[in-house]
């Protein structure tokens, strides 16, 4: 049985439709990322699960128990859902010590004092906070606060852990370390987790499965590899990674392939939408799949080098051909002039 089932969740705020019939399931022990640009409704969805927002329509089940059902008007308040939530701002209670912050959930559950000490000590120890138990929020670094927030949400073993952009307030270096660490901790405890983020790298790295949301609707759902390497629509393809975009007209359609053409160029690519000859279409290729070619060929375009930017670990080249501008990465500095750019058919998706 899944730990969490959300069915056709809808939510309107004023005139804006924040959630537009979102459904998903969270399997036991699974980490599910809710990924999307700001305004996509991912945080509203998380807060609806937590019970902090009330959806207008839909149904939410936790471990087989209905906690919200718009049809019957049934709702279990947030405090009785027994979930754990890590806030983006951490929301550490500033007037309580680290120990008291973490212990609060156990106190509310009337755990005996000895058990509270033992369990809080255990979770603090596991998160590397053992020596900070008596500190207050303002005496902690951002990374430590984030771990206190996690400890507070985990200590009473909630069936589902909810995380709302937990790493976005950390600086870039710390975030990379925290990513791996966070996944490890969640996997160790075996709880299932719903993880909201706008950062695709974070979603890919941490989650077992990702839900890509846009304007209150699920665009694509799948494993990180599926989302990144096999997008089923233009939004997903464009949202992930860095891309080169080709606008043109379909001039030839074959088996799952098509030829896109515009002024000065024509290219074969994989057809990922049902389109007919003569229709306008957009093609996309990840920048890392766009390479410098060694000479002319079927998937080659001769383009002028506009500029080359040194980015440290690589060079970024900007090529132009009529109105078409594309980017490619390489290892060396290029002199001005014309080059052959390779746009492999297998990596070019036409929508």
């Amino acid at each position: 049985m899944p730990d969490l089932i959300a069915e056709k969740i809808e939510k309107q705020l004023g005139t804006a439709q924040i959630l537009n019939g979102v459904s998903f399931q969270l399997q036991q022990g699974e980490i599910l990322a809710l990924l999307g640009p700001s305004g996509s409704g991912k945080t509203t969805l998380l807060r609806s699960v937590a019970g902090l927002e009330r959806p207008d329509a839909g149904k939410i089940e936790l471990r087989g128990k209905v906690v919200f059902d718009a049809a019957s008007g049934f709702e279990i308040p947030a405090e009785q859902r027994g979930l754990g939530l890590v806030f983006q701002s951490y929301a550490i209670w500033p007037h309580r010590s680290v120990f008291e912050n973490v212990a609060y959930g156990l106190r509310l559950r009337h755990a005996p004092e000895a058990e509270i000490r033992q369990r809080v000590g255990q979770v603090l120890g596991r998160l590397g906070l053992g020596h900070l138990a008596d500190r207050y929020a303002h005496q902690l670094s951002g990374g430590q606060q984030q771990r206190v927030a996690l400890a507070r949400a985990m200590v009473y073993n909630p069936p589902v852990l909810l995380l709302d952009e937990p790493l976005s307030n950390l600086d870039a270096k710390l975030r990379e370390d925290a990513r791996a660490w966070l996944r490890e901790i969640i996997k160790q405890t075996g709880t299932s987790a719903l993880y909201v983020t706008h950062d695709q790298t974070e979603a890919l790295a941490i989650a077992d499965r990702t839900l890509l949301l846009d304007r209150g609707q699920i665009q694509q759902e799948g494993t990180p590899e599926q989302i990144y390497a096999r997008p089923t629509n233009l939004f997903t393809a464009e949202f992930m990674g860095s891309n080169n975009r080709f606008e043109g007209k379909l001039v030839e359609v074959g088996r799952e392939r098509g030829r896109l053409e515009a002024e000065g160029w024509t290219l074969w690519g994989r057809l990922r939408a049902t389109k007919k000859v003569g229709e306008k279409a957009t093609a996309l290729i990840r920048v890392e799949r766009t390479r410098l070619g060694d000479g002319p060929g079927a998937d080659r375009l001769q383009m002028k080098l506009n500029s080359a930017l040194y980015l440290g670990e690589r060079w970024e080249y900007l090529f132009q051909l009529a109105d078409l501008r594309i980017r490619a990465w390489g290892e060396e500095r290029l002199q001005e002039g014309d080059y052959w750019v390779s746009v492999p058919e297998a990596s070019l998706w036409i929508f």
């Binding site: 937590a50 019970g51 902090l52 405090e79 929301a91 209670w93 007037h95 609060y104 507070r152 909810l162």
Partner: protein, 555 residues
């Protein structure tokens, strides 16, 4: 706090607000005071009041005073706000707390202070006469009243304009400076126009307060025969020999009819201007605008205002309390005495008044803060129609001058027999004070509540805490300093309050403020001076404590 309790809080507020107001409304349609068995439905009171030429002239005077004081206090207050919020005015850290002092001084004490300082035989008047041969001013005139009302309301304009200026992105001023504008030009063409919504808001507030003035026109307008609506109402009390409650009710309603639209207008203005909408800036430290050669003229302006508004009346009160008599040809050093303070102890009602003032400020203030906190928490993070109803509800007392609330509660205690015995206890005074300061008190508490980020409470809820437990564990501990600060501020407001107690004044309910008003009618200047000094000292001590513990006065 569950639904039922929250609804109960709202209903409680509705009761204490609409009960008294409803009684005034009812009384206004009776032929005489409601406790006469012969009282019956009648428009007579309306006919009498609306045809009375005294009412017409009081209405005209009120309008002139309101307009005049707005025109004085808003430009001056805005200018001072700019100087203190945005420039490198010398000594501004030290000067700023003084700017808000007039808010905590009782107008009736200030008015009395002006009388003994710059009245026809005031200390400063006689000193001026000794110097130049005549008194160059006339306190007892419409102009004198308007000027003093204007100067004492500068802090209200200062408060709103400076808080808006502080949230203004300093970059817009720096841009003007780089373009070549001097400080004066920046103020007039950039900063002040950008906070125009707040300036207009403070103007409408001061215009409203103009109609509620009581202490200043009572003391300063009387000798010149000037009556405003509130003093006209006060005079009606003794006009006919028998209690003319029906006439008073009509006058009270006519004042409310003027003030209520103004309060509603302000609410609309607040919504559009958004008091909490930060225009820009990240609150980072910025370099104040250098005033250059204007530094010292600016300091002079501020100090001059302080001297005229605070120093002159307070020096007057203090000196008057220390002299046995005063007039032309008397040397100050020969008449100094402490007798007036000794004299006070001979009047049991005055002694009770001092004790009661302390009790109503200390204990009453604490109880009121508790009440405001319950109401504020009742509507805190609660999406409900009750909350918007409460929003409108707390507007109502803002339109009610203390004098009228006091009158209304007197009637309530006379009208509802079961609670009649409470009339002669401090409880009657406390409930009237609580209603008069309801909007102010709720604003203090909500300002503290705004500091509590919603996630802190949500975190407790998700952890498993029911609503009441969330308040107990998270919200209340986080706002406890705000509550203490609110208590100190309410203490000062209750101590300086005078008009609310005027009608409730009786054995057992004496407080310094209303005693001064009633003594003013008997001309006992010595006792008034001594009482005033005690009141100012009481407020001064609490103000000092409040500033020391870091309470923000500009709530």
């Amino acid at each position: 706090m569950n639904r039922a309790l929250r609804s109960l809080a709202v209903i409680g507020v509705a009761l204490v607000v609409f009960g008294p107001l409803g009684l005034i409304f009812y009384q206004s349609f009776l032929s005489e005071a409601f406790f006469f068995p012969t009282a019956h439905f009648s428009f007579g009171a309306y006919r009498y009041v609306l045809a009375d030429s005294g009412f017409h002239s009081a209405f005209g005077t009120s309008l002139l005073v309101s307009l005049g004081m707005t025109l004085i206090s808003v430009p001056l207050g805005s200018l001072l706000a700019f100087l203190l919020a945005r420039t490198d005015l010398p000594g501004k850290k030290w000067l700023e707390p003084w700017l808000l002092v007039p808010i905590f001084l009782s107008p009736v004490v200030l008015a009395f202070g002006y009388v003994v300082a710059v009245g026809p035989v005031g200390f400063f008047s006689l000193w001026a006469k000794a110097l130049i041969g005549r008194v160059p001013w006339n306190l007892y005139s419409l102009f004198g009243l308007v000027l003093i009302a204007g100067l004492t309301h500068v802090p209200h304009a200062f408060l709103y304009v400076s808080s808006a200026l502080r949230s203004l992105d300093p970059a817009v001023e720096e841009a003007a400076r780089v373009a070549g504008a001097g400080p004066w030009r920046i103020a007039v063409t950039v900063s002040l126009p950008l906070v125009l919504p707040s300036i207009l808001f403070s103007a409408s507030l001061i215009f409203l307060l103009g109609f509620e003035l009581f202490g200043l026109p009572l003391v300063l307008g009387d000798p010149a025969g000037l009556l405003v609506l509130t003093t006209y109402l006060y005079k009606l009390t003794n006009l006919l020999g028998v209690p003319s409650y029906h006439l008073m009710a009509v006058v009270a309603l006519s004042i409310v009819a003027l003030t209520f639209p103004l309060v509603y207008l302000q609410r609309r203005m607040l919504r559009t201007a958004g008091r909490f909408a930060v225009i820009g800036g990240k609150g980072q430290a910025f370099r104040p605008l250098p005033l250059g050669v204007l530094r010292w003229p600016a300091v002079f302006l501020l100090v001059l205002w302080l001297a005229v508004t605070v120093l002159v009346p307070l020096v007057g009160v203090a000196l008057r309390s220390l002299v046995s008599s005063w007039g032309e040809g008397i040397k100050l050093s020969e008449v100094l005495t402490l007798d007036h303070f000794r004299e006070l102890t001979g009047y049991p009602n005055l002694v009770r008044g001092i004790v009661n003032t302390f009790l109503i400020g200390g204990i009453g203030g604490a109880l009121s803060v508790a009440f405001y906190a319950i109401v504020a928490l009742g509507s805190h993070r609660w999406q409900s129609r009750w909350v918007s109803f409460l929003d409108y509800l707390v507007m109502v007392p803002r339109a009610l001058p203390g004098l009228i609330v006091g009158l209304a509660f007197l009637w309530v205690f006379l009208f509802f027999k079961p609670i009649a015995p409470l009339r002669t206890t401090l409880f009657s005074l406390w409930i009237a004070y609580t209603v008069v300061w309801l909007a102010y008190g709720l604003r203090l508490i909500s300002a503290s509540l705004l500091q509590v980020k919603p996630e802190l409470e949500e975190a407790a809820r998700v952890t498993g805490a029911p609503q009441g437990e969330v308040f107990r564990y998270v919200t209340l501990p986080l706002i406890r300093f705000g509550l203490i600060g609110s208590w100190l501020l309410i203490f000062m407001m209750f101590v300086r309050e005078y008009s609310t107690g005027v009608y409730l004044l009786g054995p057992g309910t004496e407080v310094i403020g209303s005693l001064i008003v009633s003594l003013w009618g008997t001309g006992a200047l010595d006792l008034i001076a001594a009482l005033s000094v005690i009141e100012v000292a009481l407020v001064g001590v609490v103000l000092f404590i409040a500033l020391r513990v870091g309470v923000r006065l500009d709530a």
